[in-house]
């Protein structure tokens, strides 16, 4: 990094930050500067400035090493990526404009611009990388969370197990449901399995198809499958689609399903006087 530019920035940092802040407050698409308290904005602006300066004054080797830290810290601000990239561009713009104004730019001004660009480009790349790492991590964590949420077969009584289904069923989850169902039936020695779809927002032909296949598979391992928790609007839609659920015992609530399951296994819940 050019020593002259670095020292210029260092000497004029307060003004640079102020100009930069004004520029950023004009950004309509991000409300950070509008909704945060002045104190928070002040602190963030200062921190951002220090980060930028430290990145400009470092030797090349240390600079590359520190890039990552810089990006990780920026990501923590929670700004949108376009806003961050804008912030970086604006920061160099402000510096360039100020140097130009102060006639600080000598005949080598072209190279000054180049230096600024060389400084900001790796920052941009590093920021984009840092953001995509965060996104990828979030997506994969959510995927795992979804898988954990989905489809465990719960033994409720001897011979009776329930699988509560919550959320959207895609191809991947449908596979998982099938696996867990079959493993669970064998493991818990279930004779009746209740598939509870209370928490499934949409039952289209694909979901219905998966349910029918699951029930067939359960039958093959010697148990019965009941479909419970069918909300009235879902029942109507299934009928209109023309899907045949005649091979199923279906009930509107899990409770009714449980009573039937107990009856199928020759049991009942009775009230007793003690």
């Amino acid at each position: 990094m050019n020593k002259r530019i670095a020292s210029y920035i260092h000497e004029n940092i307060d003004e640079i930050l102020e100009n930069w802040r004004v520029k950023m407050e004009e950004e309509k698409d991000d409300r950070f500067f509008q909704i945060m308290s002045d104190k928070v904005v002040d602190n963030t602006v200062r921190e951002f400035g220090e980060l930028m300066i430290s990145s400009i004054t470092e030797e090349k080797a240390t600079y590359t090493a520190k890039l990552n830290d810089f990006s990780v810290q920026i990501v923590r601000y929670g700004w949108s990526i376009s806003f961050v990239l804008k912030a970086l561009t604006n920061f160099t713009e402000v510096i360039y404009e100020k140097m130009d104004e102060a006639e600080y730019l000598d005949e080598g001004f072209q190279s000054h611009r180049e230096i600024l660009t060389n400084w900001i480009t790796p920052l941009n790349h590093s920021i984009v990388d840092a953001y995509s790492v965060v996104w990828e991590k979030t997506v994969s964590l959510q995927k795992i969370a979804l898988q954990e949420l989905s489809a465990s077969l719960i033994p409720v009584f001897e011979k009776i197990s329930v699988m509560p289904l919550v959320g959207t069923i895609d191809t991947e989850r449908a596979k998982l449901i099938m696996e867990n169902l079959l493993q669970g039936v064998v493991k818990h020695r279930a004779e009746v399995v209740l598939l509870d779809i209370t928490g499934v927002p949409v039952v289209d032909t694909m979901v219905a198809h998966h349910i029918i296949q699951a029930a067939d598979a359960v039958r093959l391992v010697g148990a019965k499958c009941m479909l419970v928790g069918i909300r009235p609007e879902i029942a109507q839609t299934i009928v209109t689609l023309g899907i045949n659920l005649n091979d199923f015992t279906t009930t509107s609530t899990l409770q009714k399903g449980m009573e039937q399951a107990l009856a199928m296994t020759n049991r009942a819940i009775v009230e007793v006087d003690i």
Binding site: T171, T205, H209, E233, I234, T237, L241
Partner: protein, 133 residues
């Protein structure tokens, strides 16, 4: 009135996004729970067909008025292979993918109005609408 919005169907999760958009629009028009479920399911069928048979396409949702009735128009369009025999795909149980084959005839029953335009090798556009009565 002609408010419109659309979702590109590229991945399986876009089907969920299209559905969500449809549900919100249906609520906005004032449809009750049963009709909301019908519309959402119809969108789900059309979006999945795009995903399965055309690879990618678009679901567009428009709020419409007919006379003094408000309603929703769903347009599913793709530049996929097109449908060879339109009469056949409207038969219950006809499928080329080992599915239930209940999607298109189902959508027709779920909605009030249903229209397929398709050209082999160029693509398919299916429009389905429902009015709030």
């Amino acid at each position: 009135m002609n408010l419109r919005s659309s979702v590109d169907i590229i991945t399986e999760w876009d089907i969920v996004a299209a559905r969500q958009l449809g549900r919100n629009e249906a609520k906005d028009v004032g449809f009750g729970t049963v009709d909301q479920a019908r519309i959402t399911t119809a969108i789900s069928e059309l979006a999945r067909n795009i995903y399965l048979y055309a690879g990618k396409g678009k679901i567009e949702i428009r709020q419409v008025t007919e006379g003094n009735l408000r309603g929703l128009l769903v347009i599913a369009s793709d530049k996929g292979p097109g449908i060879v025999d339109v009469r056949k795909v409207m038969e219950d149980g006809y499928t080329t993918s080992g599915g239930l084959g209940a999607g298109l005839p189902g959508v027709k029953r779920l909605m009030d109005d249903f229209k397929i335009e398709t050209v082999i090798g160029e693509g398919t556009t299916i429009s389905a609408s429902k009015l709030l009565r």
